[in-house]
Point group: C2
DNA sequence: GATAATTCATATGTATACAAACAATAATAA
DNA sequence: TTATTATTGTTTGTATACATATGAATTATC
């Protein structure tokens, strides 16, 4: 948590600021803006993810893609994006890195020549199996500061934001 | 909202999947993972931000940096990062782009030769003044799906996650 | 059946985001 | 004073994330 203002000497820029708090531009408090709060919460969730997934070398989006491919058996690149809430251009990179590691493999869609179908390789399926417990752990750890009821409430409210 | 699975023809990959739902790797449902839900909520907040800030050409982090600098009058690069929850390497880029546009200016810290102090230029202060209402609007629009009480609850729960 | 609109994958450019390594400076301990 | 440690800012590399543009393939429409 390196976001506490800290009481180092740099906190008093240089004597008094010209304007008193009352007459400042406006009542814009960064910490009260939902976007900033969401960003910070996401940062923390990502950090916890990194910690738990260290041995697997998977990012959150890579793991999400693997999980969704496993659920369906085969998925087009475009559908992977929709199921994981990723931009097509973002999927491109994620898929490329997973393929380079031999975790997924592709074949052209016989019914639609625009599409590429992706599936897990044995190596990918094995890695996913081993990584799933870490995924469960990430959510538990991230939500740990809240009670069970609060966790439900939070997930419900966030869901309704989207 | 491009994340609904959609009922296009690509949703039935190709007949039946080998394993029934019961015997699949594990009960890992992406949509129930807090990290994924946070990521999506943050995506939506960012999209709303982009819409409201179109004319100002400011990103969320750029705006946050401007607001924090305005609050303090002068800030070191490092402190900007801590106040806006940005990595030092990330601050580097954000600050650089703001400077290139002439919205902020720097001078060496007289008391510490490692530091660079940043302040708003007149142009930057003017832009910030005009942009603050958009910032307020972004939070209102993003939280619009929730009641006032729910908004308070959400911000409180998210705050406790960090 | 020809045309228009849509979809899919790709490519480029900009902007976070963070890890890791580094040099310069400052603060502290021995 | 010297040695150690911590802080500040920078650089490099990897990975999202999205806007925009393009081309190929498909679907819808007339």
């Amino acid at each position: 948590m390196a976001d506490a203002p800290s009481d180092g000497p740099e906190c008093e820029p240089s004597g008094s600021v010209s304007k008193p708090a009352d007459t400042r531009p406006d009542g814009y408090v960064l910490e009260d803006q939902i976007g900033h709060v969401l960003r910070r919460a996401h940062q923390r969730a990502s950090a916890i993810f990194s910690g738990e997934f260290g041995e697997f070398e998977l990012t959150p989006t890579q793991f999400a893609a693997l999980a969704k491919i496993a659920d369906s058996g085969e998925l087009s690149q475009n559908l992977i994006g929709r199921l994981t809430a990723m931009d097509p251009a973002t999927v491109q990179g994620v898929i490329g890195r997973l393929e380079k590691r031999g975790l997924i493999a592709s074949k052209p869609d016989p019914g639609d020549r625009r599409r590429t179908l992706w599936r897990l390789t044995d190596k990918g399926a094995d890695l996913l199996d081993r990584a799933v417990p870490a995924g469960i752990r990430v959510t538990a750890l991230t939500l740990a500061p809240l009670s069970g009821a609060e966790q439900k409430t939070l997930l419900d409210l966030l869901e309704r934001l989207s």
